[in-house]
């Protein structure tokens, strides 16, 4: 744990020194937030939809694309090999490397969602469930990112290899939002990130059984949490088998 925290601190320090990266990380949600405050037509029920797409966009850009490039760059430069020659666990090294973009997604999503809600004067049914939705996406897409990084040979190659997940996640989100919310919508749950979309919708709109207590929330979230766990575990198992720690592997 000490080693993982030390790696996270180093990654955070590196991010802090990369003015382009942190500038983008801060500017992106603030610029998007400014758009919501601009002279746009009232969104009505569309606020929840906007938040879902914001989170999916952040998962795609900040976590998947940047995360894949970051892992590949560090592998090419033997940084991953160097960290792995320490006492840090394999999981610790990977979390240390991708932890910063993952954390950024959570912070950016929170900032962006708050701005959007303030701009339109609406609040979610459950902020906690919104956060669970974001975390679900971070876990699933983080695991998928390790798999994609495994067979990505270079940073340039990452522009190609990340595209299928980008397309699947964005397209899947659009498709899911066109369907009425159903907690057991298996086709949506089967898409990586689909469960995250379901949880975000649940967090914004509330459970299907109005007025019910925690059991209703949990009932509606259970399938999505299960799908998150299953896809993440499968992706992690695949990554453990195929992840390459150095270019020569």
């Amino acid at each position: 744990m000490t080693a993982t925290l030390a790696l996270l601190r180093i990654e955070l320090r590196l991010l802090g020194r990369d003015t382009t990266a942190w500038g983008t990380a801060i500017a992106l949600p603030l610029l998007l937030g400014a758009v919501w405050f601009a002279d746009l037509p009232p969104m009505g029920d569309g606020v929840g939809t906007a938040i879902v797409f914001q989170v999916v966009g952040l998962l795609v850009m900040t976590l998947h694309t940047v995360g894949t490039m970051s892992l590949v760059n560090r592998r090419e430069q033997l940084v991953l090999k160097r960290w792995r020659s320490s006492e840090a666990s394999t999981t610790g090294v990977l979390i240390g490397t991708i932890g910063v973009p993952a954390g950024l997604v959570v912070v950016q999503a929170a900032v962006l969602s708050v701005i959007t809600m303030l701009a339109h004067g609406q609040a979610p049914a459950s902020s906690t469930m919104l956060l669970v939705g974001v975390l679900s996406g971070v876990v699933t897409i983080g695991a998928v990112t390790f798999v994609v990084a495994s067979f990505t040979r270079s940073s340039d190659h990452a522009l190609i290899t990340t595209f299928p997940v980008v397309a699947l996640l964005m397209g899947g989100a659009v498709w899911a939002m066109m369907r009425p919310f159903d907690p057991l919508d298996w086709p949506v749950l089967a898409i990586p990130g689909g469960a995250s979309v379901q949880l975000l919708r649940l967090g914004w709109d509330g459970p299907t059984q109005a007025g019910a207590g925690a059991a209703a929330w949990l009932g509606d979230a259970a399938a999505s949490l299960g799908a998150t766990a299953l896809i993440s575990l499968v992706a992690t198992a695949a990554a453990v088998r195929v992840f390459r720690w150095e270019p020569r592997a």
Binding site: T2, A3, A6, L7, I10, R13, L14, R17, D18, R74, Q77, L78, V79, K81, R82, W83, R84, S85, S86, E87, A88, S89, W245, E246, R248, A249
Partner: protein
């Protein structure tokens, strides 16, 4: 290790018969019967290298990349306080072997034990006890040497002792560059930082993959000095290098890899003893027949004489006596002991002479 070398351009060199053209091939403390005198190693066990504990043992190691077998069954043993140099052509399997010993790669077959543990299965346990210098730095360009050296103790908390960052910076002579980003360091400075990182947790065993690549001659000598100090402290060093001079200067034992096999292993003396020394000279017109020399004798059309011999002193003496007795002038006379370069090129050109097993000598 200096090469004793005899070269003369004139005849009448009987006085040179006193020259002993035998290289000083054994480092103190490494040759049987030659106890440590110049580089005492207080932490070693016993005077003789074979009395020291084994810190690294490899048996029938095989490593593959897909269907390509990079290492095809090698055996080797390294003992405490020894500097073991692994030489080889590009693609010979040196780095793959080193990575397997470091715990970065799983052996496809065979047995590997480093400091008493399986390095792949117990990578984290081993990390606190070894130091590594990779072929290239593997350090983020945005950090400074001081930050990287300060970070490593937190990444190896189980190490028995961590050296002070300032002490390490001074030792690798980077104290004046301690707060400069790694991206702004020269190639040689980065290599010194790599070495510093390998030293920070006061390791028992250090693996160095071409440690002096990109260093200027002065920095190389400084690095050699640090390695000698480590050896004197009982640290075991395993290094790969393309610099034959480096292996000659530092190594207690040398292994030459070729095509995934260990083609030769031994002390420098043992390796060069497998190759003949050469006596060369130009004979005058009408020179009488040569004496009966043990080595292989060749003449060319330009009256150049070349004798390959495993008894340099005996045959050189015989030749010089013959020259004196017959009044023959030997122009451009040279007597040269076999060199590590000759051994290396012979292996690289012809492939391994053994089945890859560590040659018992």
């Amino acid at each position: 290790m200096s090469r004793h070398y005899l070269a003369t351009r004139s005849a009448g060199i009987v006085a040179a018969m006193d020259i002993t053209p035998v290289r000083n091939v054994s480092r103190p403390g490494t040759d049987p019967g030659h106890p440590p005198v110049a580089t005492p190693r207080p932490q070693t066990h016993g005077d003789h290298p074979v009395d020291r504990p084994v810190v690294l043992s490899v048996r029938a190691l095989r490593c593959r990349y897909g269907t390509f077998e990079a290492v095809r069954g090698i055996d080797l043993t390294v003992r405490r306080g020894e500097l073991f140099a692994l030489l080889g052509t590009n693609g010979a399997g040196k780095t793959t072997t080193l990575e397997t010993l470091e715990g970065h790669r799983r052996a496809h077959d065979g047995h590997v034990e480093v400091l008493g543990v399986d390095p792949f299965a117990e990578r984290r346990r081993l990390a606190a006890r070894i130091g590594l210098v990779f072929q290239s730095s593997g350090l983020p360009a945005g950090l400074t040497p001081r930050e990287v050296l300060g970070l490593w103790p937190r990444l190896t908390p189980s190490a028995a002792r961590h050296l002070a960052v300032d002490d390490v910076l001074a030792r690798i002579e980077l104290d004046h560059r301690a707060d400069v980003r790694i991206g702004a360091l020269s190639g040689g400075e980065r290599r010194r930082l790599d070495l510093g990182l390998a030293l920070i947790n006061d390791p028992e065993l250090i693996f160095l993959d071409e440690p002096t690549a990109a260093m200027d001659p002065e920095a190389r000598l400084r690095t050699w000095r640090i390695l000698r100090e480590l050896l004197a402290d009982g640290v075991t060093v395993v290094l790969t290098t393309h610099e034959l001079e480096e292996a000659e200067a530092l190594a207690d034992r040398i292994a030459i890899m070729h095509d995934g096999l260990l083609a030769a292993t031994g002390t420098l003396a043992e390796l060069v003893a497998t190759h003949p020394a050469v006596i060369a000279a130009r004979l005058p017109h009408g020179a009488p027949p040569l004496p009966d020399l043990g080595g292989h004798v060749e003449h060319d059309v330009d009256r150049r004489l070349r004798i390959e011999t495993r008894h340099l002193q005996r045959d050189l003496t015989a030749l010089l006596l013959w020259s004196r007795d017959h009044g023959v002038r030997l122009d451009d006379l040279q007597a040269t002991e076999a060199s590590l370069a000759q051994v290396f090129h012979a292996i690289a050109g012809h492939g391994p002479s053994t089945d890859g097993q560590e040659a018992p000598r």
